[in-house]
Amino acid sequence: MNHLEENSPDRNPKPADEVVEDREMNNLLGEWRPPDITSSLDQRVLTSYRRQFLHKPLWRRWLTGSISLPAPVAAAAALLLCATSYLAARKATSYTLEPAPAISAVKLVEVSVPVVQQKIVTRVVYKNIGAPKAKETPAPSSLPPRIDLADFRPVSDIKIIVSHGGNDEK
């Protein structure tokens, strides 16, 4: 029977006869004297403590140990943890987008097919203007027709153009 528990202040109120019994019990307890503690007890307790805790390997102490923190510090640590977690999550998200160039490279390869088709269309245009063998000629579309100096004649009127700092005047 635990007397301390039974007499704790936060228990429910008791009837009057029970209060009388407690008072008697208290008197008895007041008269009780604990036995003397032998000097070896301290030694045994200390040895036992050291064996149980201090002599644990460091990794076990880290695993099983606990640290008490003030509530504001714990809250700040929790907030910091949330923030860093969010940032880490964002970074992780951007990494997931990095494969995008690889996807676009694949698209480039696919686009090359329309380019070839575009060349074919260009040649068809030449075909329409009276070049039936345009397909066989080596890329005439990219070269302008040759300028023949034979088409040039002396001018009929000389008009001198004067450039003042890049501005032409006649």
């Binding site: 300028i147 100096l149 000389i158 004067v162």
Partner: protein, 333 residues
């Protein structure tokens, strides 16, 4: 006023052509391209081409020649080998009291009298055909009435439209001129006088071989200002003359220069090169060293041009430069 465009042109072209593998036409073009900066009246004029519309100046040959009589005038001839048309204009540059201002006058070049034009057709225009063959032959073209003189700043750029394509695709080709105050070239450093500084003057000359005139007299045949006159005789070879022997070449002391004549004998033939003027300015009889190369051959165009420039011309005459000579190789010990 007698126009000297084509006489100058002939002299220019002959100067430009060397005994190289490159065609004579290309050599002449390269040479003329270097003449695009000319100086008159203390002003340096830089000639270049300009185009507008669909046009290219590639192939046009330009010959700007300062007029020896008019100190402020440059005659510029432009040749279109594709059509054989030649345009020439005179550019006169007057300096005004304000140092940054120039008065520019452009007028058609004076081709001379009908007789002179006909003479040009017989000789110089055919010379052009040798250099730059054209199907239609070369012809002189008169420019229209000249524009009014203009006053410009020296920093201004003027463009003179000369050729136009009025067909389906419009285009213009012309000359672009930039001006600058001519800078005096630095004086040449003094040096010791040597025999290489003595100039042979062979003007309006004849070549006589074994008493027979083989090259007729011509005003156009001038070799003036060099230490190494030469001639090539078809069937024989190449003769190079000098006042002294040259290392690396087998010169022989077999000639004499006196007055208007150089004479020497080689391989049983007697050669007399007779000039209109004294060949060496210093009076006296001077030894002439002669180098002969039976294997050297000039460009065929050069042979044709030489024939054009002198009646009954047998030979190609050429004024060698010292740089033309092969460099002597170091002797082995």
């Amino acid at each position: 006023m007698r126009n000297r465009i084509y006489l100058l042109l002939a002299a220019l072209l002959l100067c430009s052509i060397r005994l190289q593998a490159q065609t004579a036409g290309d050599q002449a073009k390269d040479y003329l391209a270097k003449l695009n900066k000319r100086q008159v009246n203390g002003i340096e004029v830089t000639f270049s081409s300009f185009t507008q519309g669909r046009a290219t100046a590639e192939g046009i040959v330009r010959m700007p020649i300062p007029d020896p009589d008019e100190k402020n005038t440059i005659t510029c001839a432009l040749i279109n080998p594709s059509t054989g048309k030649i345009i020439a204009y005179e550019l006169a540059i007057e300096r005004l009291p304000e140092p940054t201002k120039l008065k520019i006058t452009i007028k058609p070049a004076d081709y001379g009298s009908i007789e002179e034009i006909n003479a040009v057709k017989e000789k110089e225009l055919k010379l052009l055909e040798v250099l730059w063959p054209t199907k239609r032959g070369y012809a002189l073209t008169s420019l229209p009435s000249p524009p009014e003189p203009i006053v410009i700043n020296i920093t201004d750029v003027i463009k003179i439209p000369l050729w136009v394509n009025a067909g389906t695709e419009w285009g213009v080709i012309g000359d672009q001129l930039r001006f600058a105050i001519a800078k005096e070239p630095p004086p040449e450093p003094a040096k010791d006088f040597t025999l290489d500084d003595v100039k042979f003057k062979l003007a309006g000359f004849r070549l006589i071989i074994n008493g027979e005139v083989r090259s007729g007299e011509s005003k156009d045949l001038d070799l003036d200002g060099g230490p190494l006159p030469s001639f090539f005789l078809p069937g024989k070879g190449f003769f190079l003359l000098s006042l002294r022997p040259r290392e690396g070449l087998n010169f022989q002391k077999i000639g004499v220069a006196e007055g208007n004549k150089i004479s020497f004998s080689y391989d049983g033939d007697k050669y007399e090169w007779v000039s209109r003027e004294p060949i060496i300015s210093q009076d006296g009889r001077w030894h002439i060293w002669v180098f002969f190369d039976p294997n050297a051959k000039p460009l065929p165009e050069l042979v044709e041009i030489s024939k054009l420039l002198s009646k009954g011309n047998c030979c190609v005459f050429y004024e060698y430069k010292l740089d033309d000579l092969p460099k002597p190789t170091p002797s082995k010990k």
